[in-house]
Symmetry: C2
Subunit: 156 residues, 2 copies
């Protein structure tokens, strides 16, 4: 199976099932497609779900920070938050002590919307980790954290 | 930090750093952006790199199978392989015993192109796994494999 990879590929040959980036990309793409489908059934979109989740746990962050956490372009996040503000789900206030910075928060309606999204997110994670024991899950999360710290460009 | 998530979110509250889909999506997006940048410096694209890698280890698969392994739309993979065939990197033959199926292979020039791409892929993986000991890497790969089997739609 590794014929081509062996031909001049150097010391180690490529085995797809043992190549971490391959596995991570396939999992990420499948999860995102499944989640988009589940959200559509609830009249939601991925950007909105991510904004609700990120703001639920990081109240008061800026639009830029929200885009990084949500793994979205800043312009997309900005438009998403504009629409959510019009729908009464988020609000923005100048930061105390630095009025140039605008902090984003969920409104009570936004928190209620997150409470409806969170079970969908939890169910998707549970499907992903089905049959994996707690200790293995914890080790997995710990390694994922190390990998993110290795490659992220932002300090968070 | 979990104020919003605690509000009506049920038994478990969202902690971003402990939520596997969040970590996987962030890692995947960062890795893909970094890889696209590294490939651009070598005059390559992500679809072409993925096709070279997949065909190096799975010679004789179909266009559809190649698209699944490469995590790409079938139409994108089809166009990519057309361009690669014109460039002399891949070739297609009818499958022995079932001429309706067309198998895709790397040509010697395609294998040479993969041999140039593979060190870039290895270096990106190494950066991702930097500082993580072998036993932890192996456990991580094993869990990623379980997760992919949990959520994939194709039998491979």
């Amino acid at each position: 199976m590794t014929r081509g990879a062996d031909a001049g590929a150097g010391e180690r040959s490529l085995v797809l099932e043992a190549f971490a980036p391959y596995l991570i990309n396939r999992i990420s793409a499948r999860y995102s497609a499944d989640m988009a489908e589940a959200l559509r059934l609830h009249g939601l979109t991925t950007p909105k779900m991510r904004a609700l989740a990120v703001l639920a746990v990081r109240p008061g962050i800026t639009v830029n920070e929200c885009a990084v956490y949500a793994v979205m372009e800043q312009s997309t996040m900005s438009r998403t938050l504009d629409a959510m503000q019009e729908a009464g789900l988020v609000d923005r206030h100048p930061r105390e002590g630095d009025g140039r910075v605008r902090e984003v928060f969920l409104t009570p309606a936004g928190e209620a919307a997150f409470a409806r999204v969170w079970p969908i997110m939890l169910a998707a994670e549970e499907r992903m980790l089905d049959g994996i024991a707690l200790a293995e899950r914890e080790a997995f999360i710990a390694t994922l954290g190390k990998v993110l710290r290795n490659i992220r460009k932002h300090p968070f």
